[in-house]
């Protein structure tokens, strides 16, 4: 407890002594965490939209006449990529077709007997699953034909891939810059006190006693930066989303306060952890080089 009190006091001293550097780090960490947060929210929204789009993708599978509808439907439902399946009788399918053909529906009367068979409307988890599912369905004896919007599926899948990669790249870039800023601040802080650290080692202070205030300093600055970033994000994001939804109501965006709140907590936790990890690395490296005997 006594040691903890001394360490906290020394952390406070560090923050006060390097206040200007501390403020600079705080601002940079806040800006980077803000960018990181917005990137994550953007990615979250893109994923949300794509998911919605993907959930509306339908694979149509037509059964051969005389096939066991229930058994085939069960086999398809059991497939990993399938989220839902709806079986349409020949009559239902014909009615749908007639509705789609509108004024030209009477042409169907010329055929006489209903030419349509039982068919399934299959919804999938992701656009990327569609081609594989179509291949699997075609390989089934009971299936006569499979129809799906090939181009649309490919587009959605490739947009999804590009968006995910761009988000990951932005995310990694923001993490890297934030890490570098925290790393450099703590390094400068350590470097400016190298003589003092050397003296502390000489008089018998342990490595953890000397290091902990620096680690706490880095963690605290990154934590505070993240809090500022979250405040900035929430105060700009929610009104912005509301504005967007007013003009484009069909867009499905992440806007509920609970999700944003959880996201904020996650971002602050992530920022503090990032600060802690960077500080630990820089302090360990610095201490190893300082304590090495000649």
């Amino acid at each position: 407890m006594t040691t903890f009190r001394y360490i906290l006091r020394d952390t406070g001293r560090l923050l006060i002594r390097h206040w200007f550097l501390g403020i600079l780090t705080l601002i940079t960490a806040a800006v980077m965490m803000w960018i990181l947060g917005l990137t994550a929210l953007f990615s979250l929204n893109v994923q949300n939209l794509l998911q919605k789009l993907e959930s509306e993708l339908v694979v149509q599978a037509y059964l051969r006449r005389g096939s066991e509808v229930g058994a085939v439907a069960d086999r398809i439902r059991a497939m990993d990529s399938v989220t839902s399946l709806r079986a349409l009788s020949p009559e239902e399918s014909l009615a749908k077709l007639q509705a789609r053909m509108g004024s030209q529906a009477h042409a169907l009367d010329l055929i006489g007997e209903n030419p349509l068979s039982w068919n399934f409307e299959i919804r999938v988890r992701s656009a990327q699953d569609v081609p594989n599912l179509a291949r699997t369905l075609m390989a089934m004896e009971e299936i006569e034909d499979v129809i799906y919007a090939g181009m649309v599926v490919d587009r959605v899948a490739s947009i999804s891939r590009v968006a995910s990669r761009a988000a990951v790249l932005m995310f990694l870039l923001s993490i890297m810059v934030t890490s570098l800023v925290v790393y450099n601040t703590i390094h400068i802080s350590l470097y400016s006190r190298r003589e003092e650290i050397g003296i502390m080692f000489l008089v018998g202070a342990t490595r953890s006693y000397i290091s902990t205030p620096f680690v706490l300093e880095g963690t605290f600055l990154a934590f505070l930066g993240s809090v500022v970033a979250v405040l900035g994000i929430t105060s700009a994001y929610l009104p912005g989303i509301r504005l967007l939804q007013n003009s484009l109501p069909f867009l499905s965006l992440v806007a509920d306060r609970r999700t944003i709140g959880q996201f904020g907590i996650l971002l602050v936790g992530f920022g503090a952890t990032l600060g802690w990890v960077c500080s630990c690395i820089v302090v360990a490296r610095f201490m190893s080089s300082t304590t090495k005997p000649l």
């Binding site: 002594r17 050397g198 000489l202 018998g204 490595r207």
Partner: protein, 231 residues
């Protein structure tokens, strides 16, 4: 704490020989002067004892411990038992006299009340009680040296190592510092100090170890600064 050097050599890169094949033993409670010209290896000898430096050859034993084999995690605990006074004082400039002395004990998790009592006592012992709230740059060289002594005394070490403690001081201040060191030694603490001060060595006669180009060339009980001095 008994100190034993057995065939100790230290070569700094690329090929600077600081110590060469030194054998010596210092018994518990002794007062030893290490003398010799600049670059003769005096400071290296002290830095081997504080384990800032490792020998290239040979062994340095302090008590029963071979310093080369000491684990890194044990070094701080060892150093707490070695009071170190450096020639350049090694004080933290932005801390007050009191804080400079107190932080040595704080690093050992000594409770605040005990730190206050002990720090005040050692500062009083070196005669700086009235200046305890001043910072090192506000003090004279002699006063800073005394702060360094007070800090070294804070943990009640059993070995006291001083590198040129009177190096930058006038005669009167040097005498004051010597008085403090002798009183520490009188309490049973082993004191090892390097010096160039002929007057000090010849006035306060103790064991003298002389180094020359890294070799131990003289080891005399109650010796003089130089063997043929007529002071």
């Amino acid at each position: 704490m008994k100190i034993k050097f057995s065939g100790v050599s230290k070569v700094f890169k690329p090929d600077i020989v600081a110590l060469k094949d030194v054998y010596l033993e210092i018994a518990k409670g002794e007062f030893v002067y290490i003398v010799g010209a600049t670059g003769s290896g005096k400071s290296t000898l002290l830095r081997l004892i504080t384990r800032e430096v490792l020998p290239t050859r040979g062994t340095v034993m302090v008590g029963d411990v071979n310093l080369r084999r000491m684990r890194a995690s044990d070094i701080p605990y060892y150093r707490r038992d070695v009071g170190l006074v450096a020639q350049d004082f090694k004080l933290i400039p932005h801390l007050t006299v009191y804080e400079n002395v107190a932080f040595v004990m704080e690093a050992m998790s000594v409770p605040a009340k005990m730190v206050e009592y002990r720090a005040t006592r050692v500062i009083e012992q070196v005669g700086l009680l009235r200046r305890r709230f001043m910072k090192p740059p506000q003090l004279s060289g002699g006063e800073q040296q005394r702060v360094a002594i007070a800090r070294a005394l804070a943990n009640s070490p059993s070995l006291f190592v001083a590198d040129e403690p009177t190096g930058n001081l006038d005669y009167r201040t040097s005498a004051e510092v010597m008085k403090i060191l002798l009183s520490i030694n009188a309490a049973g603490v082993t004191v090892i100090m390097t010096t160039h001060n002929q007057y000090i060595v010849d006035s306060y006669r103790q064991r003298v170890i002389e180094l020359d180009a890294g070799r131990l060339v003289r080891d005399e009980v109650a010796g003089r600064y130089a063997p043929n001095d007529d002071v």
